[in-house]
């Protein structure tokens, strides 16, 4: 029999700390597979800020640093500038990147910083118990929007890739989803382009991965994946928003 798929070696033996069915694990596997396939594992430093994936360094076997909440892009900038040979990426939640860390994100993008950002949009703050995030949908109930997110009070869901695409620094900006095998396969392709952008020194790259938080959404994992398709993707459509020449 031919081996078609196999847990990548860059994924450690340690059990993840994620809730059952949490797509964080899927994103981890995609990253690990790509680092292996692109022969980057030994060159990589991953910046893990706070969020459910704060312990990510236990699961993906590369050098790693842990950033303060929201500051992953700044920390990655610091590493990459003094050590341009390293492959430097961040793995950030939507609270981390889009709320407290938006300044660092926008500026790393505007500078065209040679880093790659994996951005997990699960529509809330998973780790701290399901508070509203900038990506929370209108009407969605969270622990800090108990009456549903209201645009007149909380504004509208934030579209980070669309916003960053208005800048000149990024080489690759895209959004993918983790809800189905088809979308996950596509997500991997997008991530590969993002990593390629850095390897080829083309500029900043970011892939938003539309994810789920079954625990705080109070759904089964299967229901959560369905919600992505039915409710989230219409607001956060999959697509590539910026593709520099050379990112193939």
């Amino acid at each position: 029999m031919k081996l078609i798929y196999k847990k990548p070696d860059a994924i450690t033996e340690r059990d993840t700390t994620y809730c059952p069915g949490c797509p964080h694990g899927i994103a981890h596997r995609l990253v690990a597979e790509l680092l292996e396939e692109m022969d980057l594992v030994k060159k990589t430093v991953i910046v893990w800020p706070v969020g459910c994936s704060v312990f990510g360094y236990y699961f993906i076997a590369t050098d790693a640093v842990e950033a303060a909440h929201g500051r992953a892009c700044a920390m990655a900038t610091g590493i990459k500038r003094v050590h341009p040979e390293s492959f430097v990426m961040t793995y950030q939640g939507d609270g981390d990147l889009a709320s407290i860390g938006i300044a660092e994100t926008v500026h790393a993008a505007a500078r065209g910083e040679r880093i790659s950002v994996v951005y997990i949009n699960n529509g809330n703050y998973g780790m701290t118990g399901g508070q509203m995030a900038p990506t929370t949908l209108i009407g969605q109930v969270t622990t800090t929007s108990p009456y549903g997110r209201k645009p007149e009070l909380n504004g509208f869901p934030m579209h980070v890739p669309e916003m960053l695409a208005a800048l000149d620094g990024p080489a690759y900006i895209a959004r993918a989803a983790l809800d189905s095998p088809q979308h996950i396969i596509q997500a991997k392709k997008f991530l590969k382009k993002a990593f390629t952008a850095q390897v080829k020194n083309l500029g900043f790259s970011l892939v938003e991965l539309v994810s789920a938080c079954p625990t705080n959404w109070k759904m089964t994992p299967v229901e959560a994946m369905e919600r992505i398709r039915k409710e989230v993707l219409p607001v956060f459509p999959i697509g590539e928003f910026k593709v520099a020449k050379g990112v193939e």
Binding site: T17, G126, T215
Partner: protein
């Protein structure tokens, strides 16, 4: 009188509810009470436990370093709390999920196949109440009646209909405890 108990298990096993219920019952009896939840090192999907103290006097620390009693709902929690137990402390175990025996010889152990009993009662989710009922019966921090009364605080609205089965579970636990005490 001061009674402290640690309740520990997976998130989702009703550890916190059991603890809060006990604390609420203590408050209703006009005792001093503290309830202190703590979530394990794994933020998500890991173990959870809480410390409940019920006392006649103001309570100094709500932290139970060395438990005199513990309700243990899964194996990792047993691994964690067994060595911390005070001598002659009481360990009430959810045998259904704890395949191993207790190693210490200087503690009292009550093993209940609680999850099975709960399933028989009609709802696996009341496992916590069976164990809590047993604890209350043995250590008597509060009256069983107070626990039952306190259920009304927590099971409101749609959940109100769950009160009877929870009451039954508390009673069932107490019954098992009486057998255990009698058997000694």
């Amino acid at each position: 009188m001061q009674k402290g108990v640690v309740i520990a298990g997976f998130g989702g096993q009703g550890v916190m509810l059991a603890g809060e219920l006990l604390a609420e019952a203590g408050k209703d009896e006009e005792k001093f009470v503290t309830f202190l939840p703590s979530y394990g090192p794994e933020m998500r999907g890991g173990t959870a436990n809480c410390d409940v103290i019920i006392s006649d006097k103001p309570i100094a620390s709500p932290v139970i370093g060395r438990p005199e009693a513990a309700i243990i709902m899964n194996l990792p929690s047993l691994d964690k709390f067994e060595p911390l137990m005070k001598e002659n402390g009481l360990l009430i175990l959810n045998k259904t999920l704890i395949p191993r025996e207790v190693k210490r010889k200087d503690v009292r152990v009550l093993q209940i196949d609680a999850q099975t009993v709960a399933r028989e009662l009609g709802n696996e989710k009341v496992t916590n109440m069976i164990l809590l009922g047993a604890y209350a019966e043995i250590e008597k921090p509060v009256k069983l009646e107070s626990l039952k009364k306190a259920l009304k605080h927590f099971l409101t609205g749609k959940k109100e209909k769950l009160i009877p089965i929870n009451e039954k579970a508390l009673e069932k636990g107490a019954e098992i405890a009486r057998e255990f005490l009698g058997g000694k």
